[in-house]
Amino acid sequence: MNKFRSYQQGKWLRIGKSFFEHRLGVIGLIGVIVVFLVAIFAPYIAESVSGYGEVKDILNSPSLEHIFGTDALGLDLFSQVIWGTRISLQVGFLVVLIAALIGIPIGLFSGYYGGWVSTLGMGLTNVFLTLPLLPLMIIAAAVLGSNINNIALIIGLFSWPQIARITRSAAAEVTGMQYIEAAKSLGIRANRIIFHHVLVNASAPILVNLTIVVATAIISESALSFLGLGDPLTWSWGKILHNAHRSGAFISSWWFSLFPSLAITFFVVSFNFLGMGMREALNPRLRE
């Protein structure tokens, strides 16, 4: 048992070392940490904004007082972008939760049982991977009403196929291992094998994929908000861009669209780099 544990530790140590050799992955990790810090300490960084600003503050370019400038209502953009980080993380977390709750079981059952279970599970997965999901999400958001939790729910309900597919291939690989065969012959219940042994051993690629689901979720949320389906009560980055587009100040007041766009890109790039770094570290074939 002890020997096994030290083998496991060694394995994770090697993966960790390999991760830190990959420059992009480290940059991504730092970016993700920055995002979390900004979200946690948002109240200490900037005051939250609400209502209307003063007329003299409408569409001011960046200054010492408003370092990202102000919007068409005279509100400080720096505060909006900082507080938008919280919304993005909230959406990202909810989406991953919902997508994992649907995608992981479908992938596990498909990978473990194979045969018609897999045909059915992966058939459904492929249908959702094929369809144009943004128009579908637009319809759902227009019907359900735009509150930030609804938006996260909708994005989550359409984000599971990625996870299901990765989970299936990881689970299928693990299922072929001898220790699963041993568990089966010991008479352990199938559900326990699937959710205990297979899931734990297949967890690494699934975790990697969750970071990419977070990144995609933020792009979807921004797109929905930009198209006017955002929560009217919160400041997400897409919502700020929607306001910029609607007020016709997208180009004339460059700061209005620049900073929220940079925030989206920073967030998405960080999570994607992190995911890529982890994938390279985990995949021995991709390693030199």
Partner: protein, 318 residues
């Protein structure tokens, strides 16, 4: 080949069936009944009832569902709330613009992305590979509307080379019209290309890395074959099989990008129409757009799978 086609057609049909069923379900989740939106509140109860009967809304949900399917297969997508004209007519005008946009982007991204991905895989771990990777991820992480506006600002406003939005200048005909449409086309295509290029690069790179570890590559090398031929004829050809499969799926995702791009450029396609329909709560139009786009994507997937079968000698044998 015929067998492949048959299988793909069945798959496509099931996908389409699921798509239309989901839209039906989503739209029935709507609070209140559709008449509250369609009808003037001053209308009498009797008139409201008659409209309910006219639209088949007095029937059970299951009966409504079959009615909806029947109408759909006759090509009837309902009537737009806002324009009061059949949705299918509106879409017939809009769809070619969007399909052209996506088709051309697809061809460009493929012809640049696949060679870059092969190169990155061949030089993996080297500086070239890292730069290609970093730029790819950066490209796919940019928010499309902002990229669109910036390109418009740079090439439509500061350097007025291209027209600022729209799909064509009214009043032109013949060769001039053709050129004009082409000029309006370039910035939207460029926007979509920057965003979706990464998918091809990263995907080709990943499958090429796998392919380069295969035995047949080692065999080809040990035969003393020229390295260029090993990479392109043996490696890239096999890596392309999975890339082309992904190309089909990418069509679905590219629709999302097309909606945003068309919105920014006020382009006369389905995407911009979806944006307008959202603002006007025009549900029949939204539903029709989704169904038509889903159908286009399904057809593209069938085409991609057929190309795949053609590329893959193992599949040809079957």
């Amino acid at each position: 080949m015929f067998k492949v086609l048959q299988k793909q057609l069945i798959k496509g049909f099931i996908t389409f069936f699921i798509a239309v069923s989901i839209t039906f379900l989503i739209l029935r989740l709507m609070p209140g009944d559709p008449t509250t939106m369609l009808i003037d509140p001053r209308m009498t109860e009797a008139a409201r009832q008659r409209l309910l009967v006219d639209f088949g809304l007095d029937k059970s949900l299951i009966a409504q569902y079959f009615l909806y399917l029947k109408q759909l297969f006759c090509g009837n997508l309902g009537v737009s709330f806002v324009f009061r004209t059949p949705v299918s007519e509106i879409l017939r005008e809009r769809l070619p613009w969007t399909l052209a946009l996506m088709g051309i982007t697809q061809i460009i991204t493929m012809s640049i992305g696949i060679p870059l991905g092969v190169m990155a895989a061949y030089k993996r771990g080297k500086l070239v590979d890292q730069i290609i990777n970093a730029l790819s991820i950066l490209g796919m992480s940019i928010f499309i509307p902002w990229l669109g506006i910036m390109l418009l600002f740079l090439f439509g406003y500061i350097l007025p080379i291209f027209p600022i939005g729209g799909g064509y200048t009214p009043g032109l005909s013949g060769w001039e019209y053709f050129l004009d449409v082409g000029m309006h086309f370039i910035l939207p295509v460029l926007t979509l290309t920057i965003i979706y290029l990464a998918n091809y690069i990263l995907f080709t790179r990943a499958s090429m890395v796998d392919v380069l570890n295969e035995d047949y590559i080692r065999t080809a090398r040990s035969k003393g074959m020229e390295e260029k031929r090993v990479i392109w004829n043996h490696g890239a050809r096999n890596a392309m099989i999975s890339t082309v499969t992904m190309a089909g799926m990418l069509f679905g995702r590219m629709v999302g990008g097309a909606v945003l791009t068309e919105t920014v450029y006020a382009y006369p396609g389905v995407g911009r129409m979806i944006y307008d329909a959202v603002g006007q709560q025009d549900f029949p139009l939204l539903q029709g757009s989704f169904i038509v786009l889903a159908l286009s994507v399904i057809v593209m997937n069938i085409v991609a799978d057929l190309i795949c079968a053609y590329l893959n000698p193992r599949m040809k044998m079957e």
